[in-house]
């Protein structure tokens, strides 16, 4: 963790989130304007009230001009950040630190990505000139490496593993079917998921998050100012980001059943937020379910399940919307797709709705009524063995 952290020093007082999907009707400018406008309105501020902006986008633009130009900002500082799939969360983290420092009063973190104009299938990461020795395999293939390793280590059969992957996809699609902002808004039967064409390894089409366009934004102020903007601010309890040493791809001791960067980011966040038992204390979690085996491993890396037991817990429904610890109640990347710069802030948007009691009744997690007040968001960027990871914990009360 950052040596001290900024627990409870800043709060979110307004948020916006576009509908995610194949937005043939919207360019990146439109998506950013939509998300920003909704967030300004939500916080009851005008764009000129915001002192500084942090924009997360992986490839939909470079420099602060990507935001200042469409919004016609009045000579405000805009920082464009990129941290692979944690890009949106990284914009949020830096905006929070700026507010906590006292240098500015109001910050906006905004993330957006326009992926569907590329004309290609799947995600394309821009590459640097290289010596041509890195194998250019796709993201689903990289994450499918988890499956045989997990099966081997824990004695899970490929059939059982497929059932778990299917259950996770089915759960997230179910949650997404209840969410008007999701890319996919229909239930998908387990049979359809299990029978979907194979993309890589054991992963079918329905084990992969989609490719979509979208944007989301948050307005951040110091906690002592928060109630001036809203009765129900959401307080930042922990922000944790680590870039792994990427040794897993070179070190035979790495066994492809965990993301060490996620474990570390999670531990740092729990310390900063004072969480001792995440399974018992969190009301919900939004985790980076880029592929279904990823979500399984994340249950264990983030301490929601014991090592080697996440698959049983998933099958038993522990992470369903009415389970003990709902995971991805908004539908996750599975139902939203993954516009890189937007995803982290989209996750926070669900925490914002749920902790404020504003999620529609059919999607409201039961854990909040049971008294839980904390929510977690998580991203990872990269691949097993070489990734960056972000964890935030936010809560509905200023101090626990």
């Amino acid at each position: 963790m950052a040596a001290r952290g900024i627990r409870d020093r800043v709060a979110i007082v307004g948020m916006g989130c576009t509908r995610f999907g194949e937005r043939w009707d919207k360019g990146i400018d439109d998506l950013l304007i939509d998300a920003a406008t909704e967030a300004f309105d939500s916080a009851g501020v005008a764009k000129d009230d915001v002192d500084a902006f942090w924009l997360g986008t992986m490839g939909s633009g470079i420099s602060g001009l990507t935001l200042s130009r469409p919004l016609r900002l009045d000579y405000k500082p805009v920082t464009r950040v990129e941290n692979m799939c944690a890009t949106g969360s990284e914009a949020f983290r830096n905006a929070c630190y700026a507010v906590a420092s006292g240098a500015i009063d109001i910050a906006m973190a905004i993330g957006g990505e326009k992926l569907k104009d590329s004309g290609t299938s799947g995600l394309v990461i821009p590459s640097q000139p290289s010596d041509g020795t890195a194998p250019e395999l796709t993201a689903p293939a990289l994450f499918s490496l988890l499956a045989p390793a997990y099966e081997q280590k824990y004695g899970v059969s490929p059939e059982q593993f497929k059932e778990v992957m299917t259950r996770i996809a089915w759960k997230n699609h179910h949650n997404g079917s209840l969410n008007p902002r999701a890319q996919f808004r229909h239930e998908v039967t387990k049979e359809t998921i299990a029978r979907s064409p194979i993309v890589a390894g054991q992963l079918g089409i329905f084990d992969c998050s989609g490719v979509s366009d979208g944007a989301a934004a948050a307005v951040i102020v110091r906690s002592e100012d928060a109630y001036r903007y809203t009765d129900k601010p959401i307080f930042v309890k922990a922000l944790s980001f680590v870039a792994g040493s990427a040794t897993g791809t070179a070190d035979p001791r790495y066994d492809y059943t965990t993301f060490p960067a996620v474990v570390r980011a999670g531990q740092n966040a729990y310390v900063e937020a004072g969480v001792e038992d995440p399974r018992a204390e969190l009301a919900m979690a939004e985790v980076h379910d880029c592929f279904t085996p990823t979500e399984l491993v994340l249950y264990e890396d983030l301490g929601f399940a014991q090592r080697g037991n996440g698959w049983r817990e998933a099958l038993a429904g522990a992470f369903d919307i009415d389970g003990e610890l709902p995971v991805n109640p908004d539908g996750g990347l599975k139902a939203f797709g993954h516009p890189i710069g937007a995803s982290g802030l989209r996750m926070l948007f669900e925490c914002w709705l749920q902790l404020r009691g504003e999620a529609p009744p059919e999607r409201t997690v039961k854990s909040i009524a049971a008294g839980r007040k904390l929510a977690l968001t998580h991203n990872l960027g990269g691949a097993p063995g070489e990734c960056v990871s972000f964890v935030s914990i936010v809560g509905s009360e200023p101090a626990l």
Partner: protein, 475 residues
């Protein structure tokens, strides 16, 4: 001992096309046999590397090639010297030259003659990919493969070159304009009538130089670009029928400039100490070379990997290649590419900076804690020491599959792409493509070895690098 062959190696690609498959697909009369087929990720350069590695792993430690010459009718590049890529992959000394002998089938003889006469230990590699138009004899009867011969003097000579003679004549038998994908042939009875006397003259001259007669020859290896003339020379020049070696064309096809080398290696694999070997090759003339196998062959065979033997490589060939896949590999069937961007070509400066890694698969080992690092890096992943690395090639180091996947979305000329995480014996891990593999049968723990391949060709640039393949077996 006068100069001769001190080491040799052959590379036959994994794939065979059963000729009947061509006939089935194109409604042609069936023909027997199989031809060898370079995989989609192989070319004359990569096969030359494999043959060179086979020769060098069997060579005694004392003889390192000081010169390299590579012959082919199918150069991967023009203008740029392909032998330089081979030189880099074999890790030859910067102070040693590397030359191409490209274009004609007879270039194979040129490479052997160069190496046989060089002053220093010299490696001649003959490597070829033979193509023809669909349904034609060239496609059916051609073959792909490579053979490498290290020539030097001294006690390590396993086959002393005792005589060489050549004849040359201008006549139109086989030709191809630059850029054409297939050869043209004149009516074959004409070529037979030209070749037979040319061969007879060369054989007579060579045997006279060696001071022997046809009946003294224990093994006669006749190869050439003209199948009918090859048979005529086998039968009509006075050698003992029992001495005539199989020219292997039924099994692997005719590998053009490389074929004489592959057939000669097949004989050296089995010849007894003291045996007299006559190699005759027909291409725009004839050459006859006489070798005397030495007692050193006995020790040599102990160093030779059993899986490198020509017969072993013939036996290991995989015969379920479909004709459509073969046509796809040969750019004769243009298939819809995946809806993914083409891979970027390698950039020249990083490829040059990292050439030990890229071409020789040189990793490193930490001089402080001994941890092996793949790819090489300056900072140790275990102890964190900086700039204490010692270079270490892993090209010949076996490994095992730690985990793997089959990527059906990735851009590859031969979908699906099989990718494995490889843990090497003695440490080190690398994620790379698996080639010459059945995607359905890969399993954790499978033993693999590294092989030099052409990963892609984009924007006119071949991207060479190493892949893993299922282990062919050891010594």
């Amino acid at each position: 001992m006068s100069r001769g062959i001190v080491a040799y190696g052959v590379y036959l690609p994994y794939w065979r096309l059963v000729r009947a498959r061509i006939a089935e697909a194109l409604d042609l009369p069936a023909t027997r046999g199989t031809r060898s087929v370079a995989s989609y990720d192989e070319d004359a350069t990569t096969m030359a590397v494999e043959a060179g590695l086979a020769a060098l792993r069997a060579a005694s430690g004392g003889t390192a090639p000081a010169e390299l010459v590579v012959a082919t009718t199918a150069p991967a590049y023009l203008d740029k010297t392909n032998a330089v890529t081979v030189h880099a992959a074999l890790g030859l000394d910067r102070g040693s030259p590397a030359f191409d002998m490209n274009g004609a089938v007879r270039s194979g003889s040129a490479a052997l003659r160069y190496a046989a006469r060089a002053e220093r230990p010299a490696l001649a590699i003959l490597s070829d990919c033979r193509n023809g138009l669909p349904g034609g004899a060239e496609e059916r009867d051609g073959g792909d493969g490579a053979a490498a011969f290290l020539f030097a003097g001294g006690a390590d000579v396993v086959a002393e070159q005792v005589a060489y003679a050549a004849t040359t004549a201008e006549f139109l038998d086989r030709w191809r304009l630059p850029g054409e994908g297939a050869s043209h042939l004149w009516e074959e009875r004409f070529g037979e009538s030209e070749y037979l006397p040319l061969a007879e003259e060369a054989i007579t001259d060579a045997l006279k130089q060696a001071g022997v007669t046809t009946t003294d020859v224990d093994h006669l290896v006749v190869t050439g670009s003209h199948a009918r003339a090859v048979r005529a020379v086998q039968r009509g020049t006075g050698f003992r029928p029992a001495a005539v070696a199989d020219d292997l064309t039924d099994l692997i096809g005719n590998a053009g400039a490389a074929h004489q080398g592959i057939a000669l290696a097949g004989v050296l694999d089995i010849a007894a100490p003291g045996a007299l070997v006559a190699a005759v090759t027909l291409a725009d003339g004839a050459e006859a070379t006489v070798f005397r196998v030495t007692n050193a062959i006995v020790g040599y065979r102990k160093r030779q990997h059993s899986s490198d033997a020509v017969s072993a490589q013939i036996a290991a060939g995989r015969t379920d290649l479909s004709y459509c896949r073969f046509l796809t590999w040969r750019d004769q069937l243009r298939r819809e590419p995946p809806r993914r961007p083409e891979p970027s070509p390698p950039s020249a400066p990083p490829a040059a900076r990292n050439q030990s890694w890229k071409f020789r698969f040189a990793a490193c080992r930490c001089g402080v804690c001994g941890t092996r690092l793949v790819p090489p890096g300056r900072v140790c992943i275990a102890c964190g020491a900086t700039d204490r690395m010692i270079e270490e090639s892993l090209a010949g180091v076996p490994g095992a599959v730690a985990t793997f996947t089959v990527d059906r979305l990735a851009f590859t000329p031969n979908p699906p792409m099989v990718v494995a995480v490889i843990d090497f014996e003695g440490g080190g891990r690398f994620r790379c493509e698996l080639t010459d593999v059945d995607p359905e049968t890969v399993a954790i723990g499978d033993r693999v070895e590294m092989t030099f391949r052409k990963v892609s060709t984009t924007q006119g640039i071949h991207n060479y690098f190493w892949k893993a393949r299922p282990a062919r077996g050891g010594v």
